[in-house]
């Protein structure tokens, strides 16, 4: 997680914060740092040049001079420019056509087209109640069709069978007919990965496009892509009238670079981002949030949204009441938090969404998923009475619990200390009227209690 764009920019901005005034000289230094940070984050060089030029122009204007806090002003400018570069707002899927609305997926090998096709089908069904048909035109990669079939089965989404003896265009047209006859709202067409310089394959996907007349032609690109993202995006953009981009594998530690480059080159909106290996791991792309994340402000909005989605609301309400009353928060609740946190993908997934400074601090306190599961194990080894009245746990009970959980007595002590501290914090929140915030973010607490 070190050395990513967020962290670099956080460092840069911190340096700036110590200074009273913004002079041309220290803008130069900062911009050089920004340029370096962007390059190390794999933003393509031409994009970096244009971006820093824009920031410089804006920063040297009146917006900064006369501002009380020059550092904040510059962050504001960089943030605004970044947001603008990535698109002003989230753009959804366009379905305004005679059904079936065809969505054509295109991209390099290994970008994640097949997995994303499945995720997208699920998302359109869940969020828009659409009837979706999936078809694979990848007759080249071994078992590519089988992969989409399996995904469709797991998701319980209709799948149009094809085989490697067929021509991609024939498969696509047959699937289109089938979708029409069976009243599917949407047909998602997965295609083989192809290199932009492979003329024959690029011609094939152009033929697919001509035959299907898709309303959406989505370019799927790996978030870890390096400088070559500009060349690939350009070639695909020239061969196909792209309507949008899907950025995959954003849950890794490569952040943002390719997003900026591809967006800049194609001029098309990034519509979705892949954020987990799970089939529900496709989210709408929010340029504003992405810019915040890049700037070290963290993706707290996504975090809260996720908390709402995954956390059991009834349980959350119950806990909120307990917190408000300032008493009765016991080890059962503590464990519930751990379970809820698991649902949200564990500590590491949460940390990714926090601002860089915060996640660094958290990393320093050696919070990891292993500690969390050990904690769960220890609580599981307690009797219900012990869980509701932790003060009962003395030396001999501790020994029994430690033996049951396969840990040292020391670990039980650590847990109890941690619990006490959390209890204190809870009381503070309870008194301080922050219960509302706790409802959405409480899942983070057990691991970060110390």
């Amino acid at each position: 997680m070190l050395d990513n764009l967020t962290q670099r920019l956080s460092g840069v901005m911190k340096n700036l914060r110590g200074q009273a005034r913004l002079t041309e000289g220290n803008i130069q230094d900062t911009l050089r740092e920004v340029r370096l940070a962007l390059l190390e984050a794999d933003v393509a060089l031409p994009v970096v040049k244009e971006f820093t030029a824009q920031v410089k122009q804006a920063a040297l204007g009146q917006e900064v001079i006369g501002n009380l806090n020059p550092g904040q002003a510059l962050i504001g400018i960089v943030h605004r420019k970044l947001t603008r570069l990535m698109g002003e707002a989230n753009v959804g899927i366009n379905l305004a056509t005679v059904p079936p609305a065809v969505i054509l997926m295109a991209g390099l090998q290994g970008a994640g087209k097949t997995t994303t096709s499945g995720k997208l089908a699920r998302l359109l069904r869940e969020q828009q109640k659409k009837k979706v048909l999936l078809v694979s035109c990848d007759v080249y990669r071994p078992a590519a069709i089988e992969q989409l079939r399996t995904l469709a089965q797991q998701l319980e989404i209709d799948f149009f069978a094809s085989d490697i003896g067929q021509k991609p265009v024939d498969i696509a047209l047959a699937a289109h007919d089938y979708a029409k006859k069976h009243h599917h709202d949407i047909l998602i067409v997965d295609t083989a990965g192809r290199l932009a310089i492979d003329a024959a394959m690029m011609e094939e996907i152009q033929q697919l496009h001509a035959a299907l007349k898709p309303i959406e032609t989505l370019f799927v690109v790996d978030a870890m892509t390096g400088q070559d993202a500009v060349n690939t995006a350009k070639a695909f953009g020239e061969a196909l009238p792209l309507t949008g981009v899907i950025l995959t594998k954003l849950d890794g530690d490569a952040r943002g670079g390719a997003a900026l480059s591809v967006r800049h080159i194609t001029g098309k909106p990034i519509k979705f981002v892949g954020v987990s290996e799970k089939l529900n791991g496709l989210e709408a792309f929010h340029p504003e949030r992405m810019a915040s994340r890049v700037l070290g402000m963290g993706d707290v909005l996504s975090l809260i949204e996720e908390a709402h989605r995954e956390v059991d609301q009834a349980e959350a309400e119950k806990l909120a009441k307990k917190i408000k009353s300032g008493k009765g928060f016991d080890l059962n609740d503590f464990k519930m938090q751990i379970v809820q946190m698991r649902k949200m993908g564990g500590v590491s997934a949460l940390m990714d969404k926090l601002p860089a400074q915060l996640s660094q601090a958290a990393a320093g306190s050696r919070v990891d998923d292993k500690v969390i599961s050990r904690t769960e194990g220890i609580i599981n080894s307690m009797t219900p009475l012990e869980r509701s009245k932790p003060e009962l746990i003395k030396a001999s009970r501790k020994r029994r619990i430690a033996a049951g959980a396969g840990v040292q007595v020391m670990h039980v002590n650590q847990l109890l200390n941690q619990f006490e501290q959390t209890q204190k914090v809870m009381k503070m929140f309870g008194n301080g009227g922050m219960a509302k915030m706790m409802r959405s973010m409480k899942g983070m607490l057990p691991g970060m209690g110390r």
Binding site: Q109, G226, Q227
Partner: protein
Amino acid sequence: MFGFLKKTPTDNTAEPAVADQRDLPASEKRGWLSRLKSGLSRTGSQLTDLFSRGGKIDDDLYEELETILITADVGMDATRFLLAELHHQVREHRYTEAGQLKEALAQCLLKLLKPLAQALDTGTHQPFVIMLAGVNGAGKTTSIGKLAKYFQGQGKSVLLAAGDTFRAAAREQLMEWGARNNVTVIAQQSGDPAAVIYDAVQAAVARKIDVVLADTAGRLSTQAHLMEEIKKVKRVIAKALPDAPHEVLLVLDANTGQNALSQVKAFDAALGVTGLVLTKLDGTAKGGVIAAIARAHPIPVRFIGVGEGLDDLRPFAAEDFVAALLGLGE
């Protein structure tokens, strides 16, 4: 525990069809080099333009050079290092012409990359167990298909272990590669990757197989639980055969930018990576990230993938790579 094992025994008698790769006719070797060159030609031609243009060595030239190295994914650190080296060479040898820079840069790059060119010797153990790891979509399964062909070409018997039990149809994909190469694939309907590979290693011992290639599911290094899982896979392999795995290959996509470095560091920390495979060099991606890796966290590059054909995965040769990158004559 492994009673529900399902095997697809395809006959594994494949005698060496092709002799050792070094004995290939020169024409075929050149064919490969030219393919690598065509893949890397963007960088090459850019550089060739720059150098053949003639003229004096000045700051603009260095800046252009910096641009080219950065856009080849060489990364800031390695780019600075190479430019500093180049400065040094220029001063030492009193170069004055732009054209002389090319040879000097080739020498600098070669010096950086040469230590990474260490061929993989599978003769030290039998079976020689190779475990493959990498992020999603790097090309692990495809590389295994090609590696199987490569080792068969050396007259070795090969066995594949379908350790990717997560991704839909990963098993079927590997089986297809097995069928194409006439190689046994050990797979289970579903379940624990460690168990599948454990079983494959035991089967390889029993059948006196030379090389075991173990596939694993793609994972991002930030997914702590999956990194724990792959550590376990490695531990379990050692239970089936002490000393194994003898090689842990990390598969990297040449399209990847500087994140390749964090991949190398994270997987090395988890598994002790002993070799790299760089795939998809046949596109416009330039593979400059190898230089960044050589500089920051050197690990031998065992193979590079230069095309989609079964024969397009080859041992890494620093001279060829540099020659192709800089567009030098054969």
